[in-house]
């Protein structure tokens, strides 16, 4: 019985691919998964489009990673938002705390939008006690770590989350950054903040079971070359037509976003009706 049970874990993971999001369709599906799972937990409010979109996802430096099952499609996701003049999502509640890291000239990125399809595991399954859920979560973290090491210069990961998930982040040895607060973006649920120094994880790679997984072979940037790049049409479709994210952004935020896409015509992207010709500068 136990032998059979253990065999189910590799066979569960075998048809699952862990990688960066390559298409807008995948980005939307991953985002919808986050929305569904967060809505179940009352971490976000219901909306008509079934997505949890923010300005940070429109940035080209934000990366979303997925666990995609051969038969069931996207079953897990996690995102990483690199710090920029727009700041980080968690600045809303923990700006002073993140600023302490910025003042040390550390390049910071926020881990956010972690979600697994809870229908896979039934209700009330605790990640650290359940091998499939644990490995699914850690493999998502691993692909994010690979990206972080191969494609970015990030020094410090930060995260804020509901305190009921604290045991998982403690297991990953994230250190305290900010205390208990009300997090408006998480539907005014309680949150705490943690941070993790990347060099420190590398130093401890051999001593920690999860870090050993993260620090296998030196990651190559090649698997990330297919990272989804949002076109002007994608920006308009997702962040103007589907949800009024860009239209609600401040001029400063829009100016920065426009500077990230110097060839895009933002005046056309921002039009609520179908613009013509293409909002891409020729």
């Amino acid at each position: 019985m136990l032998g059979r049970l253990y065999e189910t874990v590799p066979s569960f993971l075998r048809p699952v691919e862990f990688r960066i999001v390559r298409t807008v369709a995948e980005l939307k599906t991953a985002n919808h998964l986050v929305y569904q799972e967060y809505l179940k937990r009352n971490y976000c409010k219901a909306n008509a489009v079934g997505l949890k979109l923010s300005l940070y996802q429109a940035l080209p430096t934000t990366a979303t990673f997925i666990a995609t099952h051969r038969r069931d499609g996207i079953i897990g996701t996690i995102s990483m938002v690199e710090d920029s003049p727009l700041g980080l999502p968690m600045d809303e509640a923990y700006k002073n705390e993140v600023d302490m890291l910025r003042r040390q000239n550390l390049r910071v990125a926020e881990v956010t939008m972690l979600a697994l399809n809870s229908q896979l595991f039934g209700e009330r399954v605790f990640t650290l006690f359940h091998a499939k859920k644990l490995l699914l979560t850690l493999r998502l973290f691993k692909v994010m770590f690979d990206y972080l090491r191969a494609c970015t210069k990030v020094d410090e990961l930060v995260a804020c989350f509901n305190p009921k998930h604290q045991v998982l982040y403690d297991f990953l040895q994230l250190k305290p950054l900010g205390g208990l607060k009300t997090y408006t973006s998480a539907n005014s649920n309680p949150s705490i903040a943690r941070h993790l120094n990347i060099r420190e994880t590398e130093r401890q790679a051999k001593a920690h079971a999860a870090y050993r997984l993260f620090y296998g072979a030196k990651p190559s940037p090649k698997p990330f070359e297919g990272k989804c790049a949002l076109t002007p049409e994608d920006l308009r479709a997702l962040f103007v037509v589907t949800a009024p994210v860009l239209t609600a952004a401040s001029p400063t935020e829009l100016n920065y976003l426009a500077s990230c896409y110097p060839t895009y015509r933002f005046n056309q992207i921002l039009q609520p009706h179908d613009p013509s010709p293409s909002p891409h500068l020729s």
Binding site: L2, L5, Y6, T8, V9, P10, F12, D72, Q119, L120, F121, G122, R124, V125, F126, L128, F129, H130, A131, K132, L134, L135, L138, P163, K164, Q166, V167, D170, F171, A209, A210, R212, L213
Partner: protein
């Protein structure tokens, strides 16, 4: 595809002490777990223990730290089919009332580490 198991059992022999609160007094002993999971432990001992007696378990984990005490209750007890005058006992840990409970966190980390050893080597 749905996996309803809430916690997987690991066949680990962890040295442990137990104190069971029975109507007639306390019963204590030392043994090893036969398996261990996030929800509790199973063990073999010489005494019959009636569910749902309260008990305290002290686990001598291999993490190099002091023994870990957890509260639980006897969830089942049966005569061992393999060893005469021995009983197989299942102990379920009580849910921590506070997620900050450091002992519970340490136990969670131990289980997760053992699961990773099992599957990742």
């Amino acid at each position: 595809m749905v996996d309803q198991r809430t916690a997987e059992r690991l066949p680990l022999a962890v040295p442990m002490n137990y104190v069971v609160k029975l109507p007639g007094g306390e019963l204590s002993g030392r043994t090893k777990t036969t398996n261990i999971s996030g929800g509790g432990v199973e063990l073999i001992c010489a005494e019959m223990m009636s569910p749902p007696s309260a008990c305290q378990v002290v686990l001598h984990l291999s993490d190099g730290r002091e023994p870990l005490a957890l509260e639980g209750q006897i969830s089942w007890c049966r005569q061992s089919p393999r060893q005469r005058r021995r009983f197989e006992v299942g102990i379920t840990f009580l849910s921590p009332t506070n997620s900050d409970d450091e002992r519970f966190a340490r136990y969670c980390h131990f289980i997760a580490t053992e699961l990773l050893k099992r599957y990742l080597g």
